[in-house]
């Protein structure tokens, strides 16, 4: 089966023998984007979270056939080192990661949350950010999520002023 999808704004076409192959493996092994991680393989931990048409999706449990024609965003496409996404910037400022393995999933889930809830409360964070971090960086992540919301707001405000 041929799958065409935009990954980080670039069109990719891949030939897949098994259309149920998890999107995670296509992104990592065929497109060589290693930022998205394999954790549990059963949509429980969230390490493999990426965005499909702006929505957070557990890519270990998302058959690649569903990605056909969709826009996929991975951690590599969220921002760049020179121009990080507010979520990435906040993560740096709050020195969130410990081992770091699960962090891309958390950042993608946070990006999806801020798209829907620009200024999330602690309760919004508790309900929506349910990934698992075995280093227990939740406290710093909470601070980073609030910080990302601030950065997002100030970015939006400066964009409005400049336009």
């Amino acid at each position: 089966m041929k799958i065409s999808m935009h990954v980080n704004d670039k069109l990719h076409s891949v030939d897949i023998y098994d259309e149920n192959t998890p999107l995670l493996w296509v992104v990592r092994d065929i497109l060589d984007l290693k930022g998205t991680k394999f954790g549990c393989g059963k949509a429980a931990c969230g390490a493999c979270t990426l965005l499909v048409d702006g929505e957070a999706v557990r890519s270990c449990s998302y058959a690649v056939k569903f990605a056909n024609g969709k826009h996929i965003t991975t951690i590599e496409g969220l921002g760049t080192k020179e121009d990080p996404h507010p979520v990435q910037q906040a993560w740096i400022e709050e020195v969130v990661p410990q081992c770091g393995y699960c962090q891309p999933g958390f950042m993608m889930a946070t990006a999806a949350l801020l798209n829907k809830v620009p200024n999330p409360t602690d309760d919004d964070i508790d309900k929506n950010i349910i990934n698992v971090c075995r280093c227990g960086t939740y406290y710093r992540m909470r601070k980073a999520i609030h910080r990302a919301a601030e950065l997002n707001a100030s970015e939006a405000s400066s964009t409005t002023q400049n336009s």
């Binding site: 149920n20 998890p22 393989g41 059963k42 949509a43 429980a44 979270t49 929505e55 957070a56 999706v57 557990r58 270990c60 449990s61 998302y62 058959a63 569903f66 889930a109 999806a112 949350l113 798209n115 829907k116 809830v117 919004d124 508790d126 309900k127 929506n128 950010i129 349910i130």
Partner: protein
């Protein structure tokens, strides 16, 4: 000798006729079942078969009486503190489709079907008995304003309902338990129950 045999035969025949006429079962001793009774019996049998399915955890897990979806054959609360949310789809950024797609996932074991969601709170079945579930199911105030025809359609054609017979495998690759009645038998029973007037047996 022949005359004697014929005589014996005639006597026995006469005794037999007299016995049959006086001691045998009369037609009036049989229970007459009216067409209405037969219809009600068919309806009740169909009702029981339909309810064997609708009370199965595969159905009730998504018709909770609280706001928490249930999972598995033991109907435990959905992992990760997942709840109903405003639109029966979970929270804003973490919702049903974060994990559940329109088909089962054979690798992760995450189940999926079109329109995966929780039944609205008005359609809560958890904790109700068969009769109460039927009353709820046929009550437009609680069934989403469905007419009997629409309810029949939901029960026999909605892909999410029929997913019960294609529940896929769990995370260990073990097939999930099927409802106790086959899909064909269930659909036939539901159609019979509606055809016979969707009569709910008395409590």
């Amino acid at each position: 000798m022949k005359t004697r045999t014929l005589y014996t035969f005639c006597v026995l025949l006469l005794v037999g006729i007299v016995f049959a006429a006086t001691k045998g079962p009369l037609t009036t001793t049989y229970l007459h079942i009216s067409e209405t009774d037969q219809s009600e019996e068919a309806s009740d049998i169909a009702f029981d078969k339909m309810m064997d399915v609708l009370t199965h955890q595969r159905c009730v897990n998504c018709h909770p009486n609280d706001h928490i979806p249930k999972q598995g054959d033991d109907s435990h609360p959905h992992y990760f503190d997942v709840v109903r949310g405003d639109a029966n789809l979970g929270y804003q950024a973490t919702n049903c489709n974060t994990c559940h797609q329109s088909q089962n996932n054979p690798y992760s074991g995450v189940p999926g079907a079109p329109e995966w969601s929780l039944a609205p709170h008005s359609m809560r079945w958890e904790g109700l008995n068969r009769i109460e579930i039927a009353e709820s199911m046929m009550d437009p105030k609680r069934n989403g304003g469905r007419t009997p025809e629409e309810t029949l359609h939901h029960l026999t054609e909605h892909e999410l309902v029929l997913w019960a017979w294609e529940p896929g495998v769990n995370a260990d690759g073990i097939p999930r338990e099927l409802p106790p009645v086959s899909k064909e038998e269930y659909i036939k029973a539901v159609k019979t129950w509606f055809k016979e007037g969707h009569r709910i047996p008395t409590k």
